[in-house]
Amino acid sequence: MLSEDKTTPIVAVNLWYHVGSANERPGRTGFAHLFEHMLFQGSEHVEANEHFELVQRAGGTLNGSTWLERTNYFETVPSNQLALALWLEADRMGALLPAMTQKKLDTQRDVVKNERRWSVDNQPYGTCWEKLQELAYPESHPFHHSLIGSMEDLSEASLDDIAQFFRTYYTPDNAVLSIAGDFDRDEARMLVEKYFGPIPAGTGIPPLVNIDLPAKFGSPRRNVVEDDVSLPRVYMAFRSPVFGSDEYYAASVTAAIMGMRRGSRLYRSLVRERQTAADATAFTFDLAKGADIFVIDVTARPEISAERLEEEVTREVELLRAEGASQSEVERAVVLIQTDIITAMQTASERADRLSMFATLLGDPELINEQASRYAAVTTKRVNRFIHDRLGPDNRATLVYVPRSQGAA
């Protein structure tokens, strides 16, 4: 996808591979993310650590990230360095394996284990993402297991796994390339054809199994986790419509009504009026297959027990179901979301990433231009239908964090 804007002499290059933790085989949790690290270790014509240096030396920023459904790689460079950025992406898409060594794998394995320690194990509530996934998705489901992976599984990853994963998933037909910013369309097309053209297509991606799910959990589920925290926290999750579906927009608006910023229901009620929460938000994971999850995230004030906090959250949800959202709440949510959409479009890398996202997850990059109007089209009726259908007790998964040695709430 090409999106020109010649205001600033910079260009963003963005590549989405349609592979993520969901594609990992049993015993290899965390592999897609470890693999992402390996992508920065060089390729046939790029030395170890040279990738980062080349982009930074060119005056650019770069990174990558792994999620359940996709892995993305992105860089923003001065516009006269477009060819370098494309060449680097093509070299590692076409010829990664010659540069892969046991030593690099062992080092990145250690780096990732430290990343796990830093972002999960050594952080209060750090295990929340993996625990939420565990609770909200059945064991056989591709979204069930941890994105960053377990230490044990990381230890098992081998060079053979790297080779297999690369050949299966890192192919041009499983990737979407977006370019946004200051570039010439014809030149860009020529460069893309030159660098990526010779890379052979893959042989097809194994389909995700057991991906479909019923619209609701069916019965409430709970998990209580002791952690090194001073304040209890409640995550209440609901199975919700997949990203991009009609109903998704109603869910997204509901999350904003419930927990976006300080004018939201949860903030006004729990933080401001009742003062039982230190903070409160709501959000969706934005998964495009199977089922999404809508999550409420509330942390207690010091005097409030986990039990009381859970009651408070449940009360707010029931209140919303009983009263329904009002038109002015829906309007507030929509205008906040639309402003965010517009301000986000200021950066080339954000535009490029969203183009890749709409192309990969929903098969249509043009959808980027429709988002503001899709939100504008969300009616109070649709919001209340979502609230009624999906926020009931038959669709709640509650994850509670309690301070250690307090026992179960």
Binding site: R57, T107, N114, P302
Partner: protein, 449 residues
């Protein structure tokens, strides 16, 4: 396969801006940017954490947050909704050298949004209930600090580096003790003493002209009056000049959070550009010496970096990383080695150009949004940088030589003054760190930090 060369480069200029003032002393800086129909409004107020009365550390931050809790006309809940109906929210926070209040709004809502913004600046109510609640929220945050190893390490480090009587030894938002003692009257007094048109610069960036902006500001703020005080406390005295090491005990820690450093230099130091380039090579870039050593060569960490925390008075120089507990002593030794190497010989020309090319090339990428441009202009105000600062930034960076970098390392990184703080498991750490003999070692409890 040869890698592609760069094409001809295109010029980039930091957005042009105009500076105007009102007769009440209020300054206005406007940078028209017509890319998208977006405007960022940012007020820089001379209400700083280093101008707080003794014993009331944290009142600057509390006052900034209290601005959002309502005016004499309208209470906090309604004020919040009024902003949000316009698609925006007011952010406000204090820092060492300023208070900043800002919002980003779609162009067609700027007039009503600014009217609200102006009343927040001129007529905050500071209701007892709201102050009470904000204080309780702040105290809840303090409770959580001991659970969170990164923040805990940062705080313990500041406390260790700066002398007890220095403002920089305390967290910017205050300690549990100082915040617990802040009253509504303290907030009102701080506001009266520090919020005034003469002490405020309004920055507006986005889809409007300087004349539009001036009109909007005049309509709302021409009648604002008052003067603020400029009193500032001494903030940056070091606790000691010799090396010392501290372990903050967290037996359950899954990893060590490590900080090494000492008192740095004020933002306006003449060696600023040489220090920035030196730091990029030492620990500022991904390909820096410290990161490549600790992460890529040894696999000790997910990331290691160094930085100078720029403030009007001397903020700290810090090397910061989280490492596997068992290799903490090794990691410290490697950092010390890199510091020594940096100070003993000039960096290579390649290393220099990596840093300078990066800093020059990335410059336009930093200023894509109205918020980023407004923030840059705020820094210009806060540190009293010349109006040409952003026009000359890249050439100033480009002028730094390998010899300048060596001089900067020798002058501004002092191995014998390094303070080392580790938050982690003492039973794993104590032996190896003692064996390092890096300085006299003390142990402390996180609750004391």
């Amino acid at each position: 396969m040869t890698r592609p060369a760069a094409g001809p480069s295109r010029d980039y200029h930091f957005p042009k801006f105009e500076i105007r003032s009102l007769s009440n002393g209020l300054r206005l800086i406007v940078a028209p940017v017509h890319k998208l129909p977006v405007v960022t409004v940012l007020a820089v107020v001379d209400a700083t954490a280093v101008s707080e009365p003794a014993g009331k550390e944290g009142v600057a931050e509390l006052t900034a947050k209290a601005l959002r809790e309502g005016t004499t006309e309208i209470d906090g809940a309604h004020l919040t909704l009024e902003f949000e109906k316009l698609g925006t929210s007011l952010e406000a926070g204090a820092d060492w050298d300023s208070t900043v209040a800002s919002m980003t709004v779609i162009r067609d809502k700027i007039e009503p949004a600014f009217a609200l913004f102006a009343t927040v600046l001129t007529s905050p109510a500071f209701r007892d209930d709201d102050i009470e609640r904000l204080r309780a929220e702040r105290l809840a945050e303090r409770l959580q600090v001991i659970d969170e190893p990164r923040g805990l390490a940062d705080e313990a480090f500041s406390r260790f580096v700066y002398s007890d009587s220095s403002r920089f030894a305390e967290p910017m938002s205050g300690s549990t003790r100082s915040v617990g003692g802040i009253t509504r009257d303290d907030v009102a007094a701080f506001y009266d003493n520090h919020y005034s048109p003469a002490g405020t610069t309004l920055i507006m960036v986005g889809d409007l002209t300087a004349d539009d902006a001036e009109q909007i500001v005049r309509d709302a703020l021409a009648s604002w009056s008052g003067n603020g005080s400029m009193a500032v406390v001494a903030a940056d005295a070091a606790a000691r000049s010799s090396r010392a090491v501290q372990i903050v005990s967290k037996p359950e820690a899954a990893q060590s959070e490590l900080r090494l450093g000492h008192v740095g230099v004020p933002r306006t130091h003449p060696d600023y550009f040489a220090i920035v380039v030196m730091n990029a090579v030492l620990g500022g870039l991904f390909s820096s010496r410290i990161n490549l050593n600790l992460r890529e060569a040894h696999g000790y960490t997910y990331g290691a970096s160094s930085y100078y925390d720029w403030r009007r008075q001397a903020g700290p120089f810090v090397v910061s990383t989280a490492v596997q507990s068992e290799v903490t002593a090794e990691a410290i030794a490697e950092v010390l080695k890199e510091i020594d190497r940096m100070r003993s010989e000039e960096i290579g020309e390649d290393e220099l150009t990596l840093a300078t090319n990066y800093l020059e090339g990335v410059f336009p990428i930093r200023y894509e949004t109205t918020a980023a441009i407004a923030s840059a202009l705020a820094n210009m105000v806060i540190f009293e940088l010349p109006e040409t600062y952003y026009d000359t930034y890249r050439s100033n960076i480009g002028a730094v030589t390998t010899s300048d970098v060596l001089t900067a390392a020798k002058s501004h990184v002092q191995p014998e003054s390094l303070q080392i703080v580790v938050v982690g498991n003492p039973s794993v750490l104590e032996g190896p760190i003692t064996a390092l003999d890096a300085g006299p070692l003390t142990l402390r409890d996180p609750a004391d930090a």
